[in-house]
């Protein structure tokens, strides 16, 4: 939050250090407990928990991406699930090709669903999909390109606010419909699944799962560091200024559209990365990831966690996802009630989310920072338009 970032004293003890320290410690803990404590002992962390945590970290990275555009730049994207899914599909295509001739039809070149559709060769856009480097590039380029095209169109013509949100939602909806079509060449309804291995390691093995978890933690830390760097640079201040008074920014001589496109693309790439790490851990990517509901769920993570604070996004993603896991296990009926209630209550009662609450508590503990408290209590100042 600005309250934390604005003050030189706190800048030195920035959230970056805390987040990376906590991430490192918990990753280390999970790794050690998974590897060195036998099943049944108190400290053992099960393989199931490891991949569950890996999923949460992917969500956290995704939430971070949304926070960059919404929390800092005021662009409420209801279509970030699309970038996540595109990253996931890029990874899925690679994993699909790694199956080789072990598919049901045993075709060494074509994935099963293409054989099923009587296709005789790979479509052109699958070229290079069995190359690791190419896949990694595509994980960023795919979502980034879409964000660039969409963003430069929308931001140049100054589509903003609710209009933009609806446009992003329409974008992901159009992609949802497109990917459902078999003719698109991405497995239609079923998506891409039945993956065997990644970089020649079996996806079923617990070690691979642990490695993927650690990789996700590292990616999250890196994503966090990059976001932290951007938001603490002069650019970060320009972006915050765009959120609060776009016209003023323009009359001061910046081109808000350029900054918006740029941050939108960065955010889309982070979302793509999250999707790419998610797919091998859950073993499937299908068009359902494009559904508008998914995208809007990401937004609620950020809202609950506290937008405009990078760590708030992480807290929100993990807390809400954990609640979802518990709820759907105990009483699946109630989950939508709870989620809906969260939307309503967090917007009405917790405009700054859990991070805002945390800020307040911290300030009460150390009353020296009276100015910070005053700022936190000032409601209208940082409202997103």
């Amino acid at each position: 939050m600005n309250t934390l970032l604005n003050y030189p004293v706190l800048k030195k003890l920035s959230s970056l250090h805390w987040v990376i320290a906590i991430l490192f410690a918990s990753t280390l803990y999970v790794t050690v407990c998974n590897l060195f404590f036998a099943e049944g002992t108190l400290l053992h962390v099960s393989d199931y928990t490891v991949s569950l945590l890996g999923k949460y970290l992917c969500y956290a990275l995704l939430a971070l991406a949304v926070d960059l555009v919404w929390g800092y730049c005021g662009i409420l994207s209801l279509g970030h699930g699309a970038f996540f899914a595109l990253g996931g599909y890029a990874m899925g295509m690679y994993l699909m090709r790694q199956i080789g001739d072990r598919g049901v039809y045993g075709n060494p070149e074509l994935p099963d669903f293409m054989v099923f559709l009587n296709w005789t060769e790979l479509p052109w856009y699958w070229a290079g999909s069995n190359n690791v480097l190419f896949m990694i590039v595509m994980v960023f380029v795919g979502p980034g390109l879409l964000a660039y095209l969409f963003g430069s169109l929308a931001f140049r013509s100054r589509v903003s606010g609710v209009y933009l949100s609806i446009m992003t939602q329409a974008m992901t909806y159009a992609l949802l419909l497109s990917f459902f079509r078999n003719e698109m060449g991405f497995g239609g309804n079923n998506g891409l699944t039945d993956f065997k291995e990644i970089f020649a390691y079996s996806l079923q093995s617990p070690d691979t799962k642990l490695a993927l978890f650690v990789a996700t933690a590292i990616a999250l830390a890196a994503g966090y560091a990059v976001s932290h760097f951007i938001m603490n640079s002069k650019m970060g201040r320009v972006i915050t200024a765009i959120r609060d008074a776009e016209d003023r920014v323009r009359f001061v001589g910046y081109q808000p559209a350029h900054f918006k496109v740029w941050i939108f693309v960065v955010s889309a790439m982070l979302a793509g990365l999250a999707g790419a790490l998610y797919v091998p851990q859950v073993g499937i990517i299908n068009p359902g990831e494009f559904s508008p509901l998914n995208s809007i769920e990401i937004v609620i993570w950020v809202a609950v966690g506290g937008r405009g604070t990078l760590y708030g996004a992480l807290i929100g993603a993990v807390v809400v996802s954990y609640a979802k896991t518990r709820f759907t296990a105990i009483m699946p009926e109630a989950w939508l009630f709870a989620l809906g209630g969260l939307f309503v209550l967090s917007t009405l009662l917790l405009p700054k989310g859990l991070a805002g609450l945390l800020d307040k508590l911290l300030n009460q503990i150390s009353p020296r920072q009276t100015e910070t408290t005053a700022n936190a209590e000032k409601p209208a100042a940082v409202e997103v338009k």
Binding site: L76, F150, L153, A154, S157, R158, V159, G161, V162, Y163, S165, I166, M167, Q169, A170, M171, Y173, A174, L177, S178, F180, R181, P292, L293, I296, V299, I300, A303, E333, L336, F337, L339, G340, G341, L342, F343, V344, S346, T347, L348, P351, E383, V384
Partner: protein
Amino acid sequence: MLRLFSLLVFCLMSWHVAADDHLATAGNEQQAETTLASLLKQLPNTKLNKMAPLIKKIAATSAPQVPAILETLQAGELYYLKANKQLVHAQRTQHKKYDLTDLLSNAPLPSVTSSAIKKVRTNNRIRRQIGDLLSNMELNAKDPAIRLEAVKQLLDSPNKVGIKSVTLLHDNEPQSKIRELMSVVLAVEQLKAGTEAEKLAAVSILTGRLEPAVKNALVKALDNSTALSDKSELTRALSHAIDKIEQQGDLYQIADHLFFGLSLGSVLLLSAIGLAITFGVMGVINMAHGEMMMLGAYTTYVIQQTFPTLIEYSLLMAIPAAFVVSGLVGIIIERGVIRFLKGRPLETLLATFGISLILQQLVRTIFSPLNRQVEAPQWMSGSLDINPIFSLTYNRLYIILFALMVFFSLLMILKKSSLGLHVRAVSQNRDMARALSIKSSWVDAITFGLGSGIAGIAGVALSQLTNVGPNLGQAYIIDSFLVVVFGGVGNLWGTLVAAMTLGTFNKFLEPSMGPVLANIIVLVGLILFIQKRPKGLFPQKGRAAE
């Protein structure tokens, strides 16, 4: 408001009456029936070789029961009881067991075993005779509708006897429409087996007819004639006639797409119109708008369940009920949540999205997650046939009329009523309106209720077109928003034009690329359009709009 409803109810009633309009039945048939009864008595005792004249006599009575009796005989289901020679219609239910009904009165009789009854025997020749008689009888029927139907059938599947009777009947047919069709039937025959001159005359009769059978006959004739000589007069006449029919066919194809497009557009209009008020006029983003429609659809379902005997009137009852239910829910949402988020559109968007999830789950919990069956009243089914290749189905026709009615009523409310004046005042300058002692919070609640209520009415209409389930609303929310934005926010006419344009566009794309791709193309097109013109087709200009 009341005026709107009485108008709605009135209109729907009048359609109902028109659709229910039965044709009067023919007059005095007493005598025919007594003759028939005595003839029928002879059936059990008549030998097979004497059967043909008897059946001819029976047919000649032209009593109303004759067709049914002959059909029974033809199907081999005409029996008589061995005990008293009573004629019955018997249908075998299981091994050697028969269900009986009296042949004349159709009254059910106790079922019997095969030993108690005996079949009235027929053979192939008699069955064929019955078939010819039946079609002839229809051609001779008093009811012109039956005659017309019989001629149509004859056109599609010609038979010798039928054509012979048409030749005889043609000159005396009182109805010009039927006579015309009869000459078409004859012309098609001439085309098959006439002389060159007769064929030419036939072609001139057939030119411009849209019946598929006519086109087939012409094409066939053309195939045959080109085999003979290439540039004969007949060949030219034939290809000309075919061209003309095809041109007209294309024209009606377009009309058909247009009709489907307009009906889809009307659905879009209905779903967007409530949003045009809450979003367009008030500036409130209601993501639960689709769920208001869902509530309307479920209200229809509940009404049909509560009054199962009044299905014919259920929609009329559902319209005000849905308006009230959705309107009240809307007012509760406005008072409970939205008013606290004034001036924070993105938060409003999120909170109302949360509400939509809650409403969906609520419906899922109460009514189960499965789709519910909402029945269509009789008067909604069937279609209005304009010509053989173009017909308007009543449900789509009513949706179009209904959507337009809702639209214009709303327009009147906003333009003429004092509520409308207040709404416009508040939406343009809240502080000033308040200074003029307009209760802006009250206006907000009522306006929101109005928008939601109209969504409820839209739900009633949707219940006739799609599955009524918890996800009904979700399917429409994105489309509705796009329609409003495309048309230009705050402009009801824009919403109308946008809805109809999108609907038509979609339906014209559909045949060549399928519904999904058409939908995608329309979506992408819209996204691009709105980025080029963020204020839609008909933007509000001036400084107030900044």
